[in-house]
């Protein structure tokens, strides 16, 4: 299906090689996962599968890529429209039509499919992806999971032999992500479509992958999942657990791991009786009966809670459950329609802008929205001036989060994780009592996530309050001491992380699922417990 033959590529003369002498072959009807650290060239590799790289991106291309017998260098992306379906990272930016049904037919109209066949295929695809009840909807009114399924459907109507997806679940809550991945697995198994998908959160896709394409440096290696995971630097928790417990062959899914884990559960029984310690901290944020609505859409519906400094709190819930609104209310950027919130005794919305950023600093979902200078050094010195701090304070924060970054670099040229750390440094420089992050793990690989978790834990230890809204259950399980779960604008669960996530099939991390009923959340905890025993 796909053949790479001695492929090398670089974005223009002088820039380093993205790939050097890469060769592999992918057979029909396989589900291949592309893994690699942020900025390693996953999107570039996916772009090569329909000629967007190099035809639209530019760059120096060597060797030969053939997809379905067609050479990428001799054909334009549009010539692949009948063969390759592409779903981009943020489908909102790829929608051409405003109504779902029109979006689905777009590719067929371009290919000149006759009307009867179009009608039939639209109905087929709507049924396949269970989209028939949103066929007349405006694409902007869809939920995240529906939007992603519409984008997949729009690529499928041309009956492609290959489907390419770039991080299809990175913006989705766990349930919507399951829904999208379920669709992918069905496409491979029932229709025999070849699927190539890139993904950071391997724990989700690994169970259904036939092969793993690992990018490291400028080389690419195609392996079966077991071999790839045996020596992978980026591995999901269940694989880390198998390595720690020494299971051979490695367990790739929760089900396989659970079968191997009987002995391990027995060893760890002591953990079950360990009482959960509550530090009993004094509340610093008090929210009472918060309500907020946009038009006729209810975002917050009577939310009350108390949060203490010195611990990291996680905020979870599906897309559109009011997490972002709640964070904005806490940061004083949005005044609630009803109810009140006090941060260290003051209402954040009533504070002057300068005082507000000392009370609560919010890192928004897109951290680049906070950055607008042309270099890291300039960004840091602007932040120093804004907060009337001695020169160099922000840069020192940045270095503590992310050492070894060129200060002259443009913020846009940083990797996703580095940019997030810069935004975090800009916010932290004003020494806010609370640091609040909205969906910080989007697009971060395991290493960057570990790095971020360490930085946040360090902030909490220094007496700051930290609140993180996230869909990433593994990240929350590893970092947060307490979790709030929002649904339809109401708090449906509030308590220690261990109790809240272990009780939920959707929010439970892999380790908890493997070792249930033991309340263990991370591989690190297992390692500590084993060490204590020996």
């Amino acid at each position: 299906m796909i053949r790479f033959d001695r492929v090398s590529f670089s974005y223009g003369a002088g820039s380093p090689l993205v790939f050097d002498d890469v060769s592999f072959t992918i057979a029909e009807a396989e589900l291949v996962v592309v893994v690699g650290p942020t900025g390693s060239g996953k999107s570039t590799l996916l772009g090569m599968l329909n000629g967007q790289v190099p035809h639209l991106s530019g760059g120096t291309f060597g060797g030969e890529v053939t997809v379905g017998g067609r050479s990428v260098s001799r054909h334009h992306p549009r010539d692949f429209a009948d063969l390759v379906g592409v779903v981009v990272q943020d489908p909102r930016s790829s929608f051409v039509a405003s109504i779902v049904e029109d979006e689905l037919v777009y590719v067929m109209e371009n290919l000149g499919v006759d009307r009867q066949a179009m009608r039939r295929r639209v109905e087929d695809v709507l049924d396949l992806l269970s989209l028939h009840d949103v066929r007349d909807r405006h694409v902007t009114s869809l939920s995240g999971g529906q939007r992603q399924r519409v984008a997949i459907a729009a690529a499928l109507t041309a009956s492609p032999a290959l489907l390419v997806l770039d991080e299809p679940t990175s913006a989705l809550d766990p349930a919507s992500a399951e829904e999208v991945l379920g669709v992918l697995s069905r496409l491979v198994h029932d229709l025999g479509i070849t699927v190539v998908v890139s993904e950071h959160r391997l724990e989700r896709v690994l169970p259904m992958a036939d092969a793993v394409l690992s990018i490291a440096g400028d080389t690419v290696v195609l392996d079966a999942p077991l071999e790839a995971m045996a020596h992978a630097v980026l591995a999901p928790p269940v694989v880390e657990l198998s390595r720690l417990a020494g299971w051979r062959p490695l367990a790739l899914t929760v089900r396989e791991a659970r079968r191997c884990a009987t002995a391990l559960r027995h060893d760890l029984e002591a953990l079950a009786s360990r009482p959960s310690v509550s530090p009993g901290l004094a509340p610093s944020i008090i929210a009472r009966d918060l309500h907020h609505r946009f038009g006729d859409q209810v975002a917050l519906d009577g939310v009350s809670f108390e949060l203490a400094r010195g611990e990291v709190t996680g905020l979870m819930g599906r897309n559109g459950s009011g997490k972002t609104t709640l964070l904005r209310v806490l940061a004083g950027a949005v005044a609630p329609s009803h109810g009140a919130v006090w941060v260290d005794g003051g209402a954040p919305a009533a504070l002057a802008p300068a005082a507000r950023i000392r009370a609560v600093g919010l890192v928004p979902q897109d951290p680049s929205a906070l950055l607008y200078c042309s270099s890291v050094a300039l960004e840091c010195s602007t932040a120093d001036r804004d907060a009337a701090l001695p020169e160099g304070t922000t840069y020192a924060w940045f270095c503590s989060f992310q050492p070894g970054v060129d200060a002259a670099a443009h913020p846009r040229d940083l990797s996703e994780g580095q940019r997030l750390c810069l935004a975090l440094a800009v916010i932290c420089a004003a020494e806010p009592g609370w640091v609040v992050l909205d969906e910080p793990t989007r697009g971060l690989d395991y290493a960057a996530k570990t790095h971020l978790a360490a930085a946040l834990a360090q902030l909490a230890a220094a007496g700051h309050g930290v609140l993180v809204a996230s869909h990433d259950v593994e990240f929350v399980a590893g970092l947060c001491q307490r979790v709030l779960v929002l649904a339809e604008g109401e708090i449906v669960a509030d308590g220690p992380t261990r109790e809240v996530v272990c009780a939920s099939p959707i929010f439970a991390p892999q380790v908890a699922k493997v070792l249930a009923p033991l309340p263990v959340l991370t591989v690190a905890e297992v390692a500590n417990a084993l060490e204590e025993r020996s």
Binding site: N50, Q52, L56, H76, P77, R78, D79, F80, A81, V84, V86, V88, D90, S93, S94, V96, S98, I99, V105, V107, E109, N110, L111, G112, V113, D114, R115, R119, D133, V134, R135, D136, R137, H138, S141, L142, S143, G145, Q146, R149, A154, A158, G295, D296, Q297, R318, N319, G320, A331, A333, P353, I357, G361, L362, P364, A369, L370, Y372, D386, V426
Partner: protein, 370 residues
């Protein structure tokens, strides 16, 4: 009467109808007639709009119309020709040099002046609402889908450009919020500089993604024409457009004898049609929806004709009926009102729009989780 099968009326029919009504409104300042017009447009828009994805264009255009009336009244108060009568506000008049002949700033504001400005503003508002109703009945996207194959790509470009403006506003709002989080100014020149550049940057990035996605889905796939065919089509369209432009100028300005100008116009239009058909034959695109043309479209056309004839007749027989009152007297109710009403009632003959999705009207804006 046989039960009418629900179906949408051809978008071009609605837009032509709205255009005719808008042209009629241009001659009318009688507030009674204009009010009936707005009410009738609203009734048709609500009764015959596509039930899938309502876009609330009518309500938006009414709001915008009210703003337009307010602006027109303000303009009248500041720059309007002073009319004697009941003084509401004795504003001082600004002395202007002689060469500012015909323009006055300030002066006493009379009730007559305000009313007159109101009528003029209402006329502009009604013209706007005509298009609002048309957009509610058949969205510009649907209209674009009916374009001839040769203009298809132009149509797509326009549709995307139209959807782009609201997204830019949304991006700017998000960004201002983020700036506020950093304690930065969000207003004034400094604030604007910090917002405009990243918003435009984001817009360019988004356009590149969209272009990539369109290309990946076969945009621009067309049977390739030979160089000779392409040259010939280009020549035809250039000649056609030049002839049409020249003929239009002469018809308006009188550079050529009228008969010659009309002949040139016909030749020009003919060339353009032939060129478009040539392009269309080469395009391999197919259409998913084909809006049928039948008696409902004839009914809509007839209704437009009735309205236009009524206005023309009223203007010919009794021009006072369509003009707003000049003084404080109440506007008269001309016989035209009956004709207008008939024009709107005729549209009840058109079939109702199809009700899809179990008859449930999707809620716009509210994100429903799957």
């Amino acid at each position: 009467m046989r039960r009418r099968v629900p179906r949408g009326v051809h978008p071009v029919a609605w837009w032509v109808w709205a255009l005719v009504l808008a042209m009629c409104c241009d001659a009318i300042t009688n507030p009674l007639v204009l009010a009936l017009m707005i009410a009738g447009l609203g009734a048709v828009a609500v009764g015959r709009r596509a039930t899938a994805a309502p876009n609330h264009a009518y309500v938006r255009s009414v709001r915008l119309g009210l703003l337009l009336v307010a602006i027109r009244v303000l303009y009248g108060v500041v720059f309007g020709q002073r009319t004697p009568g009941t003084v509401l506000l004795p504003l001082p008049q600004l002395g202007l040099p002689n060469w500012f002949e015909g323009i006055s700033i300030g002066g006493p504001v009379t009730l007559e002046l305000v009313l007159h400005s109101c009528y003029a503003g209402l006329r502009l508002a009604t013209i706007l609402i005509c298009f609002g109703a048309a957009a509610e009945l058949a969205s510009p996207a649907r209209l674009q889908a009916t374009m001839p194959a040769a203009l298809y790509e132009l149509g797509v470009t326009m549709a995307i450009a139209l959807s782009f403006a609201p997204e830019l506003l949304e991006a700017a709002r998000e960004l201002r919020l983020a700036r506020a989080l950093r304690g930065r100014p969000t207003t004034g020149l400094r604030g604007a500089r910090g917002v405009v550049v990243p918003v435009l940057e984001g817009a360019v990035a988004r356009s590149m993604t969209l272009a990539g996605s369109m290309e990946a889905r076969g945009f621009g796939l067309a049977r390739t024409a030979s160089a000779r065919e392409r040259r010939w089509s280009l020549l035809q369209s250039c000649a056609g457009v030049s002839c049409t432009v020249i003929a239009c100028f002469s018809l308006l300005g009188g550079a050529l004898p009228e008969l010659v100008a009309i002949v040139v116009l016909c030749v020009g239009v003919g060339c353009v049609v032939v060129a478009l058909r040539g392009y269309g034959r080469r395009a391999t695109r197919t259409r998913y929806r084909k809006d049928p043309v039948g008696w409902p479209e004839v009914v809509v056309g007839f209704a437009a004709g009735v309205t236009a004839a009524g206005v023309a007749l009223q203007a010919h027989l009794d021009p006072a009926g369509i003009a707003g009152p000049s003084g404080l007297e109440l506007p008269v109710a001309p016989p035209l009102l009956v004709v207008l009403l008939a024009g709107f009632v005729l549209l009840a003959l058109t079939p109702p729009p199809p009700l899809r999705s179990e008859g449930r009207r999707p809620t716009a804006g509210r994100v429903v989780h799957a």
